[in-house]
């Protein structure tokens, strides 16, 4: 009985994931159909008014919106499950092709932003927690508050304007280069958007780190370690930080998930051809397949991030089974 327990948990979790994803697919599909406009008005704008009823019918057939709602849903779901994700009419390629070029950009951006944010957030959090109530604590908390309060678009626009006007430097004005085409150019193009996203991640990570460390530092085993004469730095990193990692990992996972789906503005300002821009353009053009498939990809990634976070929990704390 005990041996079967993990598989029961696995299947229960799998069923809940599939139900969630199915619910999301239905929700997005309905929301897109409820809002006014369709692929024709999204593509032609006010010129739609110049079309005859026959022309409109012909375009409805072209975009596949002449089918019943069930027909449209199952046709798209079929495309999604078979891996081509539907057709992006305004780009003349399948959504899979679009996603193949946009998703790596967003993942790289989110990854760089998260790494930068975590390093900065944990460092400032540790610095702040090392002497609660002191000037350094105040400085750390002030940084956290500032990073939370300054909107990303303000920081991004300021950075772009200053770098371009003062230093004549704006690598994002060049064509986007993947790390395989030109790693150095890719690094330069990723640097500033990652910095902007990283600062946004650093703030909650810093606050979480600070409170988790302050909670752990009062624990008996820390006093014991100090009493045994273990070096202060070793106690800080090996005992205090390690035992405070659970909330930090949770916060990092959440922030990484947000970055994957929420870097739209940063992608726009830095001209990064990522998923945020893809989904925003598709909403404006009422490209149903692109929006639906992109949202599903985000949802699947969120599920995967949760899974990875769970695995990391187990690695950090063997008591979690």
């Amino acid at each position: 009985m005990n041996k079967r327990l993990p598989s029961t948990v696995f299947f229960t979790r799998l069923a809940s994931v599939i139900t969630t994803l199915f619910g999301i697919s239905i929700f997005v599909f309905i929301v897109l159909r409820v809002i006014p406009g369709d692929s024709i008005t999204g593509s032609l704008g006010i010129e739609t008014g110049a079309l005859t009823p026959e022309q409109i019918e012909s375009l409805r057939a072209y975009y596949g919106i002449d089918k019943s709602l069930f027909g449209q849903y199952f046709s798209w779901m079929g495309s999604f499950l078979t891996g081509d994700f539907g057709f992006a009419y305004s780009n003349g390629v399948s959504v899979l092709e679009l996603t193949k070029s946009a998703l790596p950009v967003t993942i790289q951006l989110a990854l760089f932003g998260t790494i930068f944010g975590v390093i900065l957030g944990i460092s400032v959090g540790m610095f702040s927690a090392s002497k609660p109530g002191s000037v350094r604590d105040f400085a750390g908390q002030f940084f956290g508050l500032l990073a939370l309060a300054v909107p990303g678009f303000v920081l991004a626009t300021t950075l772009v304007t200053v770098m371009a006007n003062v230093f004549g430097y704006f690598p994002n004005g060049f064509e986007y280069m993947s790390p395989w085409e030109d790693p150095w150019m890719n690094f330069q193009q990723m640097m500033f958007p990652s910095l902007v996203l990283g600062i946004a991640v650093a703030a909650p990570v810093m606050r979480t780190t600070r409170s988790a460390l302050l909670e752990t530092v009062d624990k008996d085993f820390i006093r014991t370690a100090h009493g045994k004469g273990v070096k202060h730095r070793v106690v800080q990193f090996k005992h205090v930080l390690r035992n405070s990692l659970i909330p930090i990992v949770t916060m990092t996972g959440i922030q990484f998930g947000y970055l994957l789906g929420g870097a739209v503005i940063t992608e726009k300002i830095f001209a990064m051809p990522g998923m945020g821009r893809q989904i925003l353009d598709a909403i404006n053009k009422r490209e149903y397949a692109t929006v639906q498939s992109s949202v599903m990809i985000f949802a699947i990634m969120f599920v995967l991030i949760n899974l990875i976070t769970d695995i990391i929990y187990r690695r950090i704390d063997p008591r979690i089974k």
Partner: protein
């Protein structure tokens, strides 16, 4: 310890300086990188409506007639034209020695096939309505003859532009236009590639009928934020920028960059729905017209970057801005009109797009504040452009702040709105037999004095009845590197003048 810290600081500083110094070399002097907020959305010139698509394909395709500087018609693939005495037959003489990018020769058969493709309802061509008076086309050698159902002089202007692009009859017959087919035009630039959401690449056409362009290749790069376009121009990573936001245009440092500012043909208007209350009452419409200080809208919401306009913005027949019941704001007159309407309290909702153009919401807020002084309450119904368009098309509004495209000829600009059979009359919400008669008069005559008379009468009727409240025309901005020579900005927004431009 101190040394270690110093070494780390030195390493960090050298990395930063190295990164700044290591910015890639700017594009070669014969290459031009253009920054555009929008990406193209298709490769079929006849169905293109997106500004970015129209601009990019305008460099790849040619039309029979072109609109040049000062909005004058000039020769394109047609070198001469002649109307019959009754104005119902137009004979065009085509240019010799023109080649498509695939090497085939352009002739009258291609021109006939192209126009027939536009006229075919299955094509869903954007400009089909503008040439729908063509009943038959004949091609013979260098000559193309268009037979028209009515005398239609403005059809000449309608033959300009990407939507009237000349295609290869072989491509049309083989269904090789649009979709994933590589565009094959007769234009100044050959289409090389399109990377969706990133860039379009073009190369100079060595056999172009005006001679090979001096700029050897053009990359239109998608930079979806106008402030970033300006930053890229300041950093020298792009050499040409397309901007619409007056706030960004005002930040252009003209010591470093060239700013081309031309009054657009497009116009902003507060469209009033003449069929529903309260605007089914002419006096209420006039009250709104009189309560509005257009210059204040231009000065505040548009940051002074616009010109007050009447209905017709076509340069040759531009409406007078003083020939209207209230050329300037007149609150006493506005209140008198309200009294005449018998209404003491007028409240209405105005549909406003938040994403249609940069100053839309600011303009709406200013108009709202101005109307409040006359006792008229305008509530804002703000929505995104994709939601705005279907509501606008359905006439689903009491009033709406609109940014409508203009044309160089008033006939193609307004026939579709203000004739009783116009396909956008549902949006215009006003038609009359006198308007129909005047549009017919303007369309049928080749004499500019007769045409001017007709369009002045049309303008007067629209203003006297306050059918809509026309406000202003914005400016079109092009920002270029100082090294760009021989470029002339056109009111149509076309990039075609780049064919004669050079860098350095």
């Amino acid at each position: 310890m101190k040394r270690k810290k110093l070494a780390i600081a030195a390493l960090a500083a050298s990395l930063a300086v190295g990164t700044l110094a290591a910015q890639p070399a700017k594009a070669a002097s014969t290459s031009l990188a253009i920054g555009s907020v929008l990406d193209i959305d298709k490769l079929d010139p006849h169905t293109a409506t997106n500004f970015a698509t129209v601009r990019a394909l305008g460099l790849v395709y040619s039309s029979l007639i072109e609109v040049g500087p000062a909005n004058k018609l000039k020769t394109g693939l047609a070198t001469a034209w002649q109307f019959s005495a009754d104005g119902k037959t137009l004979r065009l003489t085509l240019r010799e020695g023109v080649k498509f990018h695939d090497g085939s020769t352009f002739d009258a058969v291609d021109a006939k096939a192209s126009l027939e493709r536009i006229l075919d309802p299955k094509t869903t061509a954007a400009a089909r309505a503008n040439i729908s008076t063509i009943t038959s086309i004949s091609a013979s050698g260098r000559y193309l003859t268009l037979n028209l159902s009515v005398s239609n002089i403005p059809i000449l202007a309608a033959l300009d532009g990407v939507n009237m692009a000349m295609l290869s009859s072989t491509d049309i017959a083989a269904g090789k236009v649009g979709g994933t087919n590589k565009p094959n035009g007769t234009g100044a630039y050959k289409f090389e590639s399109w990377e969706p959401t990133q860039s379009v690449k073009l190369s100079a056409n060595p056999t172009y009928w005006m001679g090979e362009p001096k700029i050897s290749d053009i990359t239109i790069r998608v930079i979806p934020n106008e402030a970033s376009i300006l930053s890229a121009m300041n950093a020298g990573t792009i050499q040409f920028g397309i901007i619409s936001d007056p706030l960004i245009a005002k930040q252009v440092n003209t010591r470093k960059l060239k700013l081309y500012k031309t009054p657009a043909l497009a116009y902003y208007a507060l469209q009033l729905n003449n069929k529903v209350a309260p605007f089914n009452d002419k006096n209420v419409r006039l009250a709104v017209q009189c309560a509005l200080d257009r210059q204040e809208v231009v000065n505040t919401a548009m940051l002074g970057q616009g010109a007050i306009s009447g209905p017709i913005t076509s340069p040759a027949y531009r409406s007078s801005t003083t020939a209207r019941p209230c050329p300037k704001a007149d609150l006493a007159k506005a209140k008198a009109y309200l009294t005449a309407s018998g209404k003491t309290d007028v409240t209405f909702k105005a549909l406003v797009t938040s994403t249609g153009w940069a100053t839309s919401v600011a303009m709406a807020q200013n108009i709202k504040a101005q109307l409040a002084k006359a006792g008229i309450t305008m509530e804002l119904d703000i929505t995104d452009q994709a939601t705005y368009v279907p509501r606008w098309l359905a006439g689903d509004f009491v009033a709406t702040l609109a940014n409508n495209g203009g044309r160089i000829d008033p006939d193609t600009m307004y026939t579709r709105y203000f004739t009783s059979t116009g396909n956008l009359n549902k949006v215009a919400t006003y038609a009359s037999s006198t308007l129909d008669a005047n549009f017919l008069k303007g369309k049928s005559s080749a004499k500019s004095s007769v045409r001017a008379e007709a369009y002045t009468a049309i303008s007067k009727e629209l203003e006297d009845n306050a059918v809509w409240v026309w406000i202003a025309t914005p400016f079109e901005y092009r920002v270029a590197d100082k090294n760009l020579k021989n470029f002339t900005a056109l009111t149509t927004g076309s990039l075609l003048p780049l064919r004669s431009a050079s860098l350095g």
